[in-house]
Symmetry: C2
Subunit: 143 residues, 2 copies
DNA sequence: ATGCAAACGAGAATAATTATCATTCGCGCC
DNA sequence: GGCGCGAATGATAATTATTCTCGTTTGCAT
């Protein structure tokens, strides 16, 4: 059932190996959009694939550098990755259940550009997270 | 020469102890606005005050909870603290020299509130950092 | 099929932070 | 001005996230 996709790795200049294909498949066909290294490691282990934790870290970092994944540093000290689908967005994170929603606001984006320019910075990257409680929902997502 | 200020601690519900007074003094009268636990530890050590690293971590966390300091999680894996002067602001960080500038933009703030509301979140906190290079300056600040 | 560099897996090493616990300190009380 | 007690401290062990090391395996071109 594993829908492997070696072409992605080839085009990214990465050799097509089993661990890489499995990790990529997890992000493309798995249920969670946002996963930490530990999450990936456990999910692979659960599905019977024995990929070493060190390899997971290596692969995630390589994928980030290749532009296949994006890394986020949410509160809590661990890096979280998601598939890079070209469209930039920021995140709002529920502090109760850990659920993550994505949003994009062009007004915020353009203000950031203006501010950076005014302060004499060449913008490289930015990171915006809103932390709160998803009161509306009954927090159906677990951490 | 240490200008101690026990009243701050009292009013924050914290017992006035030597390590706490020294850390507070560093933030109020030191040259760096943004410091990690290790930074604080080293600076105290340099000025002849022997405060344990564990104590530094404890005091920083207590000060954060008491509202005296604000904690930031910039890229790089370590927490950075600054004096809480009531005025919220975000940060732009130079990736070359580590220099930090502060800014506040009411348009960004209000857009965030609106977005959180639309997504059904009670906003708790937020974190916005822009990462870039301070091209204008010749990067006079070192990390 | 063969070979070799690149990738892997297990476990050691590192970095930031937190927990443990015996000793010391701040401070109210007599 | 000393006493006592609980809170705070400091040294160090423990934890957590991540990276490094190194002997073994694998992808892939010949």
């Amino acid at each position: 059932m594993n829908e492997l996709e070696p072409e992605y790795l080839k085009s990214a200049g990465l050799k097509s190996t089993l661990p890489r294909l499995k990790v990529l498949d997890l992000f493309k066909n798995g249920q969670e959009r946002h996963m930490s290294a530990e999450d990936v490691y456990q999910l692979l282990r659960d599905s019977g694939d024995n990929v070493g934790l060190a390899t997971v870290y290596r692969v995630l970092t390589q994928f980030e550098q290749a532009g296949l994944l994006v890394r986020h540093n949410f509160e809590g000290g661990k890096s979280v990755f998601e598939l890079n689908e070209g469209t930039h967005h920021d995140h709002i994170v529920c502090m109760q259940c850990g659920h993550v929603e994505e949003f994009y606001d062009s007004a915020i984006e353009s203000r950031q550009k203006k501010i950076a320019a005014e302060l004499g910075f060449t913008i490289h990257d930015h990171s915006l997270q809103i932390y709160g409680d998803c009161t509306k929902a009954k927090c159906p997502h677990r951490r």
